[in-house]
Symmetry: C2
DNA sequence: CCGCACATGTAAAGCGTTACATGATTGC
DNA sequence: GCAATCATGTAACGCTTTACATGTGCGG
């Protein structure tokens, strides 16, 4: 969706945890919070420049080896304030669910459509796999019960994603079982 | 999200149910399937022109009153074939959940953050309201048990949305109850 | 005759993905 | 030396939203 500057706030949020380079931010989007938002480096680098021009972040240069320059960004006081304001501000808009599978279902008119079992089984495979991935991440990050209180927000949204995926898998299983002659 | 032509397929799907004008399609996105996909008329009209140029749809002109011309579009055989192929094709990509509220949670580090109760209560209000809206729609559309078999796909995705919202509300209630000193 | 809904379009800007492009460092 | 990874950027394209723009029909 074309939301208002959401990526900018996410970057401020990540930088508030620890200063990062553009590359490290890209890695975070690929692995750490890829479950909740995606962004490529081609979007991140220009945005970092723009945010710096606006005074939200600032960078220092680190030299690795003899030549390689890394720009490590951190929030300015203003950036930190903008982040805090965003988190505390109302979120009146709901998530826009753009689930292509669900849309395809919409255009299946009859319960005995022969495509349905295959479609549902494919989604079951995908969502079960994802559920396993999320469970592995919870095991990895929050096996230690203290970790949950240290990064409460992270724990919360991982729990939310797990709940959602379990529900999705269960729903798919129920619908598959309910189909005629399956 | 920038998906591959999804809107085009949705239009083909809607037109396969009944021929429609651009205005009627816009209304459908606003009301009928707004839960699953959004599109404004400024995106729909140009796309209809493009799809007609590609031979997927064709229109006839209806005159209302003395002057007002309405273009009623319907699928060509080719358009219908493209729709069928899309519905039956694999859907390997998962829905990208871009839930701004969940992102904000991620950046709340501590369980005793004073912003949390308010944030969760706001979402509870929004999602309870939405749940009621969905329940009203099911009552309206599928009170008659025959209706579900007539429009099986529509019944399915409404059921899916209801399941998802009930789960979301329940999760929010649990987290709110679990917060310290609330 | 006035206001609202009906009806159709274009323009501009922002958001997001894919592809293009370059170079350095590290470990084997 | 070579490959994988680290590191940073730009370009082109497509999707989506917001705003601009115009005119008709209908009911009160």
């Amino acid at each position: 969706m074309a939301q208002r500057n959401t990526l900018q706030y996410i970057i401020l949020g990540l930088l508030s945890q620890a200063p990062r380079t553009g590359y490290e931010l890209t890695q975070d989007f690929a692995h750490e919070i890829g479950e909740f938002w995606q962004a490529q480096h081609s979007q991140i680098y220009p945005l970092l420049g723009k945010m710096e021009a606006q005074g939200l972040i600032a960078h220092t240069v680190e030299v690795t080896g003899t030549k390689l320059e890394k720009k490590r960004y951190r929030n300015t006081a203003e950036g930190q304030a903008v982040l805090t304001a965003w988190v505390g501000s109302p979120t009146p808009t709901m998530a826009t669910t753009k689930d292509e599978f669900v849309l395809k279902l919409y255009f299946v008119q009859r319960a005995d459509d022969t495509r349905l079992p295959g479609m549902i089984k494919e989604q079951l495979r995908i969502h079960r796999e994802w559920l396993q991935h999320l469970e592995a991440r919870r095991q990895l990050l929050f096996a230690d019960p203290d970790a949950a209180s240290q990064q409460f927000g992270h724990y919360l949204i991982l729990d939310h994603a797990l709940t959602r995926e379990r529900q999705y898998v269960q729903w798919l299983e129920e619908q598959l079982a309910r189909l005629p002659h399956n």
